[in-house]
Symmetry: C2
Subunit: 126 residues, 2 copies
DNA sequence: TATAATAACAGTAATCATTACTGATAAGGA
DNA sequence: TCCTTATCAGTAATGATTACTGTTATTATA
């Protein structure tokens, strides 16, 4: 269902997400938004994240069973540390070195690139 | 734990995976391998997939809560149809058109690139 | 500004892929 | 052949996400 009304819960969620540069999981975001709206429901958070993703205001970063969310909706690459699990924005490759702004954030050992769209078969039948 | 002994279950799993070019989920693979080993346990499949991934014989393709598996361990890009959910190998981009071998498989509307490795902080402390 | 329709909410139960556990089986070295 | 223990089958537990139910609050209209 599309967004039809405003709610302070949704506005707190998007505001929180746009004010940070880490890539919180649903639970991390939940705990953070609860500091502003203490009785925010987890179901409400999930529902709003899905709505906001659908209307292009939030980017979902697939990360196993624990997706992450990003207020920066320009599609851009990410780097996940296999050791601590943190997810960084990834701006450029240079050999095996990842550069973000002017700072090296880590060393790539593997990657996963998934493109989304519509395959030829489905395009034909629709 | 590393692999130390052979088992017909594990061999059936890797053989099945290497003989196909779709990208089965754990359940799809389970149902397929059960045609050879009817009493294969789902837990055994998951345990072996994790072991095989760890020792580099199987590639895990992150796909939400429903990961997919690939017997082709050369890291390579994938294309997922948002309509039918099928996952194709993706060999090259050309404008918005995806080409696999000589055949167009679909039209890209979005993508997700996640690089894995070790971040600077963890690299320092290890 | 009041009223009414219903989107959105809080709280909670259900779902479902995956992981962990337990006792049995079998690989492979001595 | 015997023994150690990796691996197994079967099943219970976990945990993120989704669905459901009754309540609240947004917003169009009178």
């Amino acid at each position: 269902m599309a967004i039809e009304r405003r709610s302070k819960q949704r506005e707190a969620i998007i505001e929180n997400l746009q004010s940070r540069y880490d890539h919180p999981t649903a639970m991390e975001l939940y705990l953070s938004v609860r500091e502003v709206i203490p009785n925010l429901s987890l179901g409400t958070l999930y529902r709003n994240l899905s709505q906001l993703e659908e209307c292009g205001m939030v980017l979902r970063i697939p990360d196993g069973a624990n997706d992450r969310f990003d207020g920066n909706v320009n599609p851009h690459a990410h780097f996940k540390c296999s050791d601590c699990g943190k997810v960084y924005d990834l701006m450029s490759f240079k050999n095996d070195t990842v550069t973000f702004s002017d700072e090296i954030v880590g060393y790539v050992t593997n990657y996963s690139l998934m493109a989304f769209g519509m395959c030829k078969n489905c395009n034909k039948s629709n």
